[in-house]
């Protein structure tokens, strides 16, 4: 059972939670990233995720190491799915268990922010009339409103 994994099949949230449940943890925080339909007024039809799989798994494990160092007594598991995902499907599940509740929130928040910084995974948004690699911004169609204004408003 790998705690840091890139998968192509649907993720079962409970499987990720089961990896971090421990008798000395009283709190588990879970972040689930799902495919959102509307981003900046555009209707996403589906997303495609691609990864540099072996390096992505190493980087996820590195995030786990960072969390263990920063929040002693914590346990982390992260699974990210790649391939085509429909609206509301689960792209990523992070679970962090800690003895007390406050750290579970902080550590899980840290994990998702780090994923967006150091893990080689890319998301391509598909709409009815086009597609775009998020971050790379090589849009394949002209888009009346120009490029999305801010990274903050992207599908997260």
């Amino acid at each position: 059972m790998k705690s840091f994994e890139i998968v192509t099949e649907p993720i079962l949230v409970q499987d990720i939670i089961d990896k971090v449940i421990r008798a000395d943890a009283g709190a588990i925080n879970t972040f689930i990233g799902t495919v959102r339909e509307m981003t900046l007024g555009k209707r996403t039809t589906y997303l495609k995720y691609e990864a540099y799989v072996p390096m992505a798994e190493k980087q996820l494990a590195k995030i786990g190491d960072e969390i263990s160092a920063r929040w002693p007594g914590s346990n982390t598991a992260i699974t990210h799915r790649i391939g085509s995902l429909d609206i509301s499907e689960v792209a990523v599940v992070i679970a962090v268990s800690t003895p007390h509740r406050v750290e579970s929130f902080d550590a899980c928040r840290y994990a998702i922010e780090r994923i967006k910084e150091i893990v080689p995974i890319w998301k391509k948004e598909h709409w009815d009339n086009g597609e775009m690699w998020v971050g790379d911004q090589l849009e394949k169609v002209s888009y009346s409103k120009g490029h999305p204004e801010s990274e903050e408003d992207k599908n997260d």
Binding site: G33, Y49, E50, A51, Y52, P54, M55, A56, K58, H80, A91, V92, I112, I115, K116, E117, I118, V119, P120, I121, W122, K123, K124, W133, V134, G135, D136, Q137, L138, K154, D156
Partner: protein, 78 residues
């Protein structure tokens, strides 16, 4: 031989996910220049990170035959 991996938009632009450079020794910056000349990437590796054998590397990192270089455009997981 040095293996080069491309992803996301760069992969589409190049029309391949993997190149083989028949060289014994190159700097990352030299590989970037060669690829930029060949494929005319719109953003010229802007914001693009490099990895050698699955670890992040710098422009002046030297790679040798047998190494795998990956170019990592801005990531968007999560």
């Amino acid at each position: 031989m040095i293996k080069v991996l491309l992803f996301a938009g760069m992969q589409e632009r190049a029309g391949t996910n993997e190149l083989e450079l028949d060289e014994d020794r190159l700097l990352i910056s030299e590989i970037k220049n060669a690829l930029q000349k060949k494929y005319d990437f719109p953003q010229m590796f802007q914001g693009c990170l490099s990895a050698v054998n699955e670890e992040f590397a710098d422009d002046d990192t030297e790679v040798t035959s047998g190494d795998t270089v990956a170019f990592i455009p801005p990531v968007s997981g999560g």
